[in-house]
Each structure stands twice: as C-alpha cells, then as structure tokens.
Symmetry: C2
Subunit: 359 residues, 2 copies
Amino acid sequence: MRTLNVELDERSYPIRIGSGVLADSGLILPYLKSKRVAVVTNDVVGPLYLADFVAGLRKQGISVTQIVLPDGEAHKDWPTLNLIFDGLLGEHCDRSTTLIALGGGVVGDMVGFAAATYQRGVPFIQVPTTLLSQVDSSVGGKTAINHPLGKNMIGAFYQPKLVLADTSVLNTLPDRELRAGMAEIIKYGLIRDLPFLEWIESNLERLMARDPAALAEAVERSCRNKAEVVAADETEQGERATLNLGHTFGHAIETGLGYGAWLHGEAVAAGAVMAADLSRRLGWLSDADVARVREIHLRAGLPVKGAPLGADRYLELMAHDKKVSDGTLRLVLLKQIGRAVITSEATNSDIRASIDACC
Amino acid sequence: MRTLNVELDERSYPIRIGSGVLADSGLILPYLKSKRVAVVTNDVVGPLYLADFVAGLRKQGISVTQIVLPDGEAHKDWPTLNLIFDGLLGEHCDRSTTLIALGGGVVGDMVGFAAATYQRGVPFIQVPTTLLSQVDSSVGGKTAINHPLGKNMIGAFYQPKLVLADTSVLNTLPDRELRAGMAEIIKYGLIRDLPFLEWIESNLERLMARDPAALAEAVERSCRNKAEVVAADETEQGERATLNLGHTFGHAIETGLGYGAWLHGEAVAAGAVMAADLSRRLGWLSDADVARVREIHLRAGLPVKGAPLGADRYLELMAHDKKVSDGTLRLVLLKQIGRAVITSEATNSDIRASIDACC
C-alpha cells in the first residue's frame, strides 16, 4: 500500500493506494466520527462490491446505511442527490454519520456534495472505483451536481477525511472507462510533469493492458500531482484551474450533447487537443507539439476531435464556464508541453479557428 | 448608523444598523468583488423595496440581475432555490457576482445557500427586512433549505460579506411578524444576557409600538449577542447550539403542522416555554422563573402553548434534530434565567411530561 497526504492544515487527509485496500475495513475505522456510516453507491458498482464492503464494515462493529443511486452522469442532478438525503433522514443519520462514496466520479461528486450540505456538513470518505475518479475527482474536495445550463454548476469545496483507491477494482472496469481515465492521467503530464508524460508514452501499452504495477504507478503519480496543486490552491484562485486543461471545451461537448453521451474523460481528451491547437495559434506550441498531444490520446483510444456543435454553440456553452471572471473567458492553454497557464489572450476568432479545425 | 463586527478572521464582516441604510447604496460598493450583483427577494418584499434599491445600485454603476421568489417558509425548498440558479445561469452570472438577499429569514437562508453552492461559492450580502432576520438569521452564516422530513436539513455554514439592517423597513412589517421577531430577541435575554432581558421587560410596550430608538437598541443588542456567540463557535460545535433555545420543540411544531402554519418565531416562543417547563422538571428553574418566561412571551403576543401533536409525534419529529449526536437527543435548557446549557439529562418521560403540560 502506498500513502500520499493532501496537505491542507486541519483539513489534511491521506490517500491510500493499493490492491485490496477495499477489503481492509480496518483502514477506515480511525477516520470515523462515530460507528455509524452511510455507504452510497450506484446500481452498477453496487452489485460488484457493496455486499462485501458492508460486511467488512459490520465486522468492525460499524452500523451501516446503504443507498444505491442510478448510474451515470445523466443522474448527477438534484432528484438523485435528494435520494441520498431521503435515505439519511429516513434512517435518522445524524451529524456524526460518515458518508462513504463507493463508485466513480459521479458518485463521488454527489456524495461529497451531500456530505457538504447534509445538516450543514458531515464527514465523508472517498472510495473511488474507476480510474478517472482514482486519479482525479476523488482527491481535492470539488463536489457538485449538474444544472441543465452547465456542468458542476452547483457544488462546494469540501474535503474528504480519507481516500481509498483500490487498484484491483480496475479489473472490472469497462475498457471505455479505462480509456477515459487515461485522459486525466495524460493531463497531469501535459500541464506540469513532463517526466510523467514521458513515462506514460513509454508505458502506455502496459497501462492499457491493466498491468497492476503500471496502474498503481500511474495512480500514485497522478494523485501526487493533484495533491500538490490542491495544497497550493484549495479553492481554485489560481494554479488549480490548470487542472482543467481541456475541460472548458470538454464541458461544452458534454453539455451540448446532453450529459452521458460522451464520457467526461473522452470530452476532456478532445478538449485537450483543441487547447493544444489553440496554444499553437498563439505561438506557444509547435506543429510537432500538437501532433504529440494528439498522438498520445490516439494511442489511449481517446477521441481527438470535438463533437461538431459549431463554433457559435461552443462559444455560447463556454460562456457559462466557471473560469469566466467579470465577463471574460479564461482558458487553460499550454505554454509548452509540461507547462499550462490560465490565459485570456486567445481571441474569439482564434478560438473559432481551433473549434473549426478540431471538430 | 451603528456598526458591529462579527469576528471570524478572514471571514469577518460588519453589521450596519440604522434607519435608511437600505437607500445608501454607497455602503455596499466596497464589499463587491465586481460591479455585478444579483438581488434576490420575494413577491411581498419586492413590490415595497426592490425598485428603489436596484435604482440606487445602478446609480453606482453596478449591473443588477433581479430574481423574485414566491414568499413563505413553504417555498424554502429545492424548486424555489433552483429559481435562483436558473436566474443566475440565465444571465451568465459568474464567480465574481455578489448575491444580495433582500427579505426575511427564508430569503436570507436560501440566498445564502445559493451563494454557498453556486459555482462552489460566490460572495453574498444580507439585507434583512424583518425583525426576526435582523436580529437572528442574517447574522452568523447559517444557510439552508428544508426537507420534507426536517427543517433546515440541507445547508451550509457560509458567512456574508456584509449585513445591512435598515430599521425603517420594520414600519411596513405585519404585526404578526413583528411579534415573531420578538421571540428571538427575548431568547438572547433568556440564554445569556439577563440585563437585556430586564431591558426588554421594561421596554416591551415601546418595542411593540415600533418606537424607532427602542427597535434599534433591541436589534443592536441582539446582534451583539449573536456576533459574540458565532465568533466563539462558528460551526456549532458547542456554545452556538444554545441559540437554539426552543428550536427543537419549535421545529417539531413547524414540521408537524407543515411549513408556514406557524411562523418560526411563534414556534420558537412556544418551544422556549416548553424548554423552561422542562428545565423546572430538572430542578433548575423555579415555578416563578417559568411564569416569567411565559409572561414575557404573552406580553409580546406570542403563543405559550405548543401545537397539540401528541408526545409521540413530538418525539418522532425531534429525533431528526441536528443536535442529535450518535443517537442521543440533546436539548437547550435553562440552568437559570440568563444561562442556557446543552444537555442530554432530560429523560424521555420528563420530555413527555413537558409536552403534555404545555400543548
């Protein structure tokens, strides 16, 4: 088992990474406020892991409420969130109850937001079961639900007490979700860790073949990058926004097509290629750099072209982005491979040109 | 104009109290992140004050989005909260937009929660227009909406940047709401400020007649008590819970009868009398003390008997209270007049006896 810490003063917490950590419920016990938890999962992950996980907790003398949500980004909404509140109130869960998110990014984001707001805040633990959530969304305390007019528009910064990333559960992950997770792993290399990008380029076949050692290495190095960025800028006043490389274009694709048509990681991959293309138009990347960005995503089986929504629709959707400040759209672009910046230097006509070229 | 400060380190903020502060929009300008605000009010307060308030802001060069909600505790729910998000997203309000709550406690609680969660947090300002919200709910950062199974069950601790309490708006307040506000004023005297209680007992007729100087004095002394308690215990780990004298019984009444049947202050008044009766059963208050508590509420035109829901129903509803910890119901009771404690010493049979005696 590998352990990393996210350093946030009194909100600091560990990330434990390894094969089989899910079965070791003794790992959770020290992080509970009382011997009462509510495990929230979805109807895809639940049948695979819920019974064993709950049995392990009960063996530790922990009282467990179980809540199962419908799976999918399309359900990352208020009615589904409210199923969590219904379950907690129906079983009289109080402020000392710890919520445990057992699932991917959607479950983690929703359970985190439920924890941030149930009785004005209860503790929670992330148990991410997808590659994407293990390397990104389970770490850093961003929680949210979607609104019809924008992704993750309603949420809170709320840190977990513990993240447990069991790499053995990745064996049951569908291929498409494995690929989607690769998009966020590649992202860390592109924005701030060139040696990691080179390692990914050398080890991509091992990763796609689910080599356990390679996956554990990728999860750890991704989480270390995430933890460093979050520790420096918890509420995204500055550097943290660079983690959103490809996300402004990507969110436009997700919202424009309706949640769930593309996986989040797929949209981010296409968005990263678009951001690279736009960075080239600003004179920051070479043609070879852009080809390199496209190539690594292609090798990971990810889309390298955006959905054909048209530039007008993209710009309309991007105007809702949370990085818009005082009316100005800010984008995460690449000054070079391995170094991202947040900028409003791209003109609308540059952005249109990249959309037209990449969709 | 009187100014008090709520001392919470980097989340500190001033409360400005006086006649006419609403018309002085220059007071707001220094607290904005950008010249963009969204004023949220309801369909009762809006027709009285919205147009002038917005005109004043626009004169300062501020761009204003207006959102009008249906009035009443029955609308303190998700669909109504979502009207705020719809309005903000529809007008592309970004993270630099400041939300301004113009209204009573329901508007303040909902706008505060919207500010806590819109794009994971935007600044907000409280402009309370009822006596109850001026002396209680606008200060301290408790925000929430109701759930069918319990009042204020979904919310956040989220502090405003500024509170503007204009005592002249109390002239348009319905008598019933003025009385409801008195319940929270009396509460400060009962839980921690005996000299203030004595002052209220001596000045109740002036207050009920809306004497401006008496009201300003009552608002200031109430806010000072609230500010001290909040500064000492922002997230209600301890002392802050004493502000909930009468609220556990009161919330049971509000939830049991359906939101809106009783005003919050009315339910709190009856709850305070029930808490006093229960304190007597524990040997802490004398018969004369209980009579004193009943008398001051009676003189303020407030209910001194709870709704006849039956003890079983009360206990069932009270089991959902946020002060329940690890399954144990904790109540705010009076060790003496002017000193409240949080206790789990009252047995179920004591509680039943007080419910039976007071309803």
